[in-house]
Every structure is written in structure tokens, then in C-alpha cells.
Subunit: 163 residues, 2 copies
């Protein structure tokens, strides 16, 4: 089980957009440069976030992306779900009903599969952890923990690409 690369890209892009000033935007090409990833493929991830209502996209010259709402209202889970669709990682195939149990009527299987339930509880714990952390939270941590050398370099680059 593993996440696609776009999850990482989307998280970083969302965080970068969260650090922008009011009314500022970055183009897809700029974000692709920032992280050195394929621009047209990154565009798919940005598009997914736009569809999910996390970012606003402005076409045309001086267009680009910015957050659609406050960074404090966007959780990491929101971003991940936008990219991966929010479907559960464990998908019960109900194999418990096969073989010798295939003759048993459906009504006896009223209780969900206990193993599937356990897997879903675990996923809920995962989702809870990620839904409790917003872009604003991470941004605050960045301000506190990331060295000034790095923050300065990012601020400088951003100011050269922002619109």
C-alpha cells in the first residue's frame, strides 16, 4: 500500500499557496519549477484540488492558483482526499460469504465483516489524525522550526514568481 507522488506534491503546493499573501497567485508552471516535477502532471493534481474546492484557479495571463478558503479551514486530509478520491484503502470483498457459506442466506450476514470493521476503524484513526491538522497549523510550525536560510530563499523565489 502506498500513496502516489501527487499526494506529496499536492500537500507541498497547498502549503505554499497557504503562505501567499492575500490576492496573490502562483501558476502551475511556477509550482512545477519550485518542486521540479512534470508541469502537466502536476496540473492534474492542482485540477483535482480545484474540483474539490480547495483552491481557486484563474485562467489567462497573470492567472494561477490560490487557496479557495482560509488555510485554517483546510486539513491535510482534505488535500489527500482531493487527490485520491477519499475511497477507503481496504475494500472488503466479502470473501467470508464464499465457499461453504455461499448457501447461507444474505439476511444472516446482517453484521458487517469484523475484519473489515477493524480495518475501517484503523483508517478512521488515520483520517482523524490528518483531519485535525490544517495548513495553518503546519504553516505555524514551519515559521517556528524551519531555518531562516530556507524560509528566506523561498520568500525570495516566491516574490519573483507570484502574480
Amino acid at each position: 500500500m502506498r500513496h502516489g507522488n501527487r499526494v506529496e506534491w499536492a500537500l507541498h503546493c497547498a502549503l505554499t499557496l497557504a503562505g501567499l499573501g492575500k490576492g496573490q497567485r502562483l501558476s502551475g508552471a511556477a509550482l512545477a519549477e519550485l518542486y521540479e516535477v512534470p508541469p502537466q502532471y502536476l496540473a492534474k493534481a492542482l485540477q483535482s484540488m480545484a474540483t474539490a474546492g480547495l483552491v481557486d484557479s484563474v485562467p489567462g495571463r497573470a492567472g494561477g492558483y490560490c487557496l479557495a478558503r482560509a488555510a485554517s479551514s483546510i486539513s491535510l486530509l482534505d488535500v489527500i482526499d482531493a487527490i485520491e478520491g477519499g475511497e477507503p484503502a481496504f475494500r472488503c470483498q466479502e470473501i467470508r460469504r464464499r465457499g461453504p457459506c455461499s448457501r447461507i442466506k444474505s439476511r444472516h450476514f446482517v453484521k458487517p465483516c469484523l475484519l473489515a470493521e477493524a480495518m475501517h476503524r484503523a483508517e478512521s484513526a488515520w483520517r482523524r489524525e490528518l483531519s485535525g491538522l490544517t495548513l495553518a497549523d503546519v504553516l505555524a510550525d514551519v515559521a517556528r522550526e524551519v531555518p531562516a536560510v530556507i524560509r528566506d530563499a523561498l520568500v525570495e523565489w516566491t516574490s519573483s514568481r507570484v502574480t
Copy 2:
């Protein structure tokens, strides 16, 4: 992000083996019949569990599989890790160091990526949930919650295939 089918198969097989009496075994073919899955592919999952030390495999006529240790000492996480290798689902590619940050010396990146950390904390929550649930726990829930009709059918089938 999604789990392979073998995870579900392995969990159900492990639970079935946990329900066996002392010294009893089931062959890979029998388990494949029980869940109507491809025998030779299920064998790979059983092999992984054997390699991980979760089940003992006995070759030869009247051979088969049984748990290698007490059901109360095998967690669902043990089974999943045996199948999927226990690698984290999120693998940080350190894209934060690219682009404008590629000139910054490595020593400034001493703190791990905050987004990667958040993802790993979420995975830890997932793992904690699953490591806290053993096959014995689930077996007890089955005894309590699964209708007798189903349990009886399984017991009957098992007794016809066990060695």
C-alpha cells in the same frame, strides 16, 4: 491508495487458522476453496506469513498450515505487514529541497519535512489501532456476534478438510 486483495485473504486465513484445534492444519488448497480465491496466488500470501513467522507450514501429504504461535500474540498489523512488507505508505521524496532550495546545504535540512512527519504520525495511529487487536480478540468477537448458522457451517466444513 489501496490494499491488495491478499491482505483481506491473509487476514481471513489467519483468523481461520486461529480457530483450529491444537495440532490441526489446513492446506493451502483447502483455504483457497474456503474463500474461492486462486490457490497458487493465495499460496504466495501464506508463504509470506510463513516467512514472517506467523504460521508454520508442514509439507507432504497431510501437511498444511497452522499458526506458529498463540492467536493472542498475533495482531492484525502483524498479518498486514507480513503481506505488504511493512513499508510506510507515504514516502517522502524530499521535494522541499528542490528548485530554489537546491543550493541550500544539506545541514540546514536537519529537521525532517513537517508534512512527512504529519503523514507518519497518521500512519502510526493506523498501526497502533491494528497492533492493538489480535486474532484472539477477533475470534472472541466472532463467537459473540456471528450467527450460529454461519459458525456451524464453518465448523462442519473445517472438520471435513482439517488434517
